[in-house]
Symmetry: C2
Subunit: 347 residues, 2 copies
């Protein structure tokens, strides 16, 4: 028996087309996967018909309700469980699917998934994580926006979840953990981050805590897991995207600026394309909502079928690695690392 992925077929700019084509691509990579599509049957069915092998492992469940990109999480919760996103999450809740992938609204996905699936034992707040390229390899960064303000306990939980992800899903034997800060010295940063560092230094788990890492060191590969609050993580991730886009734009203009540069581009194109592939955001598509009682993956809303297939691949990797069992085992082993802290407001 293979594994089953529930798909919000209506989420994202290119839905349902890229969802169906992405699923077929994911199926070629993971032939044991089966799919449950949730959304507009009249639009999904003809697309699935194009891919007989996909059709053989797919079921379509109809709904007219769609959570839009503009809906606030509160509105999404009201439209709720009848939507393509809500039904896909419910499939995981009922055990009919092992994971869910949606390219819809992130806030809505997190709110509905939290309500339906609940957090894993020991986890106060789920976090959004993603894998990113560095100069030497890759790193996992979290939180990327689920928790605007974080206390030290949240940060420690993110560190443990990130560590387990890097070990199980990325296969790193002993991933190093860094806390994103404005300097490396112990006294740098605010109270929550300094207290989180103190806890991670003393914690009763065989983790490799590196201490603080700065914004530039992340991309030099200073740590396998980079932990931060959701506000800073979101700004850092989007800054990285923005700078990458600015540079590619400058280079594109440069290569068009003279005949000699055009010729130079033609000669170096295959080498430059390797760089493009290395940092292709579609390769890194698929943000993990970690800490939930089920595998939930958010695809970028503007990705194509290649990117969506990668998001499905992330779900499959996490399921195969039994990520959530490992997290639970880690927190069991840890017991309580200090009394729960007072909660601060979430976004």
């Amino acid at each position: 028996m293979g594994l089953t992925i529930a798909l919000d077929a209506m989420g994202g700019d290119g839905a349902p087309d890229i969802v169906v084509r992405g699923a077929d691509l994911a199926r070629t990579r993971s032939p044991d996967a089966a799919f449950l599509f949730y959304g507009d049957q009249a639009r999904i069915a003809p697309l699935v018909d194009h891919y007989p092998k996909l059709k053989a492992v797919s079921q379509i469940h109809h709904t007219d309700v769609v959570v839009s990109g503009e809906d606030k999480p509160s509105m999404a919760l009201r439209k709720g469980r009848g939507s393509s996103m809500g039904l896909a999450i419910d499939a995981v809740k009922r055990g009919e699917a092992e994971g869910v992938v949606s390219a819809g609204n992130t806030g809505a996905l997190m709110a509905m998934a939290k309500l339906a699936l609940r957090t894993l034992p020991g986890i106060t707040r789920p976090a959004i994580a993603t894998v990113l390229p560095t100069a030497v390899s890759e790193c996992v960064m979290l939180d990327l926006g689920a928790n605007i303000q974080c206390d030290d306990r949240n940060l420690v939980e993110f560190a443990i979840m990130g560590e387990v992800f890097a070990r199980t899903a990325l296969g790193l034997p002993k991933p190093s953990i860094g806390l994103l800060n404005v300097g490396e010295e112990d006294l740098k940063g605010h109270e929550a981050i300094r207290q989180a560092a103190a806890t991670l230094r003393d914690i009763d788990l065989p983790i490799e805590f590196q201490g603080f890492v700065e914004g530039d060191a992340v991309w030099a590969g200073a740590a396998d897991v980079v932990v931060t609050d959701g506000f800073t993580g979101n700004v850092a991730l989007k800054t990285a995207e923005g700078i990458a886009k600015m540079y590619s734009g400058f280079m594109r203009s440069a290569f068009r600026s003279s005949l000699s540069a055009r010729l130079g581009y033609l000669l170096s194109r295959s080498a430059i394309n390797k760089v493009r592939v290395k940092v292709d955001p579609r390769r890194y598509n698929g943000a993990m909502l970690l800490g939930l009682n089920g595998v939930v993956i958010k695809s970028h809303g503007g990705t194509d079928s290649f990117g969506f297939a990668n998001a499905i691949g992330v779900a499959i990797d996490m399921i195969k690695a039994k990520f959530n069992d490992q997290i639970t085992a880690e927190f069991d082993r840890l017991g309580s690392f200090g009394a729960p802290m007072p909660k601060v407001a979430s976004s």
Copy 2:
């Protein structure tokens, strides 16, 4: 009568050489400038002797005391005013110089400058600002690390200071202001940033408040002035540096990866060099410590004489634009925009 710049001749990795050579380069660009060097006379004098025109407009004041890169601000304050950094700041305090430039320890420079020069009327906290390249032009970003936690009043003050800088020193007629946030919608972010946005929307100044800008939009040129707390600003700036470095590294390897790519590089080199010049960190060297009763500029510690000359150029631009008079006028005009908020801990 020209203007006089006090120089911490002992701050930074290449001191005092790059300081003296940077001053000579700045002098060629601003022939009305004079310089006061503070530091080891025996090392500075022979260097200045190499540049007769610089020598004619320079004075050297000896001290053996240097604030090191590792000194904490508290230690720097103790070593204090006898150091090359402290004496250079004091020259501004006593009115012997209009501005000071140091490539030494940022925390020490801010702490000593705050103590000696005090903040301008209306300013609760000084901020570190810098000019950065965007896809379409340039922007000013602040705070970059002076204030780890900020309330709404701090953010509003940063916005006004940044606006005045962009208008006076950069010459933008009506600079737009954006608050860095995790989304553009009103409800995004934390309380301080939402309250700052509300104040900036209502404020009795003819400023162009754009609302919230996201981390990627900054580099597309979404706002002329980007306002954020020092923690987020520091991470964003260093992330930008780190990604830029990662990309240049990838491109360098790509151009070396085959004979055809090497040839391609040779043909496109002059176009690529234009990109390099456009984003050259030395061109953007010179972070402004805004909100102090005097012009204080921090040069990158690892820059060369070209970069140091640019930092001196920033000081000269701010002095000529009468930046501090403008700030004071703006805050006078504004009166008090709400009762002072309770202070939160600074770094």
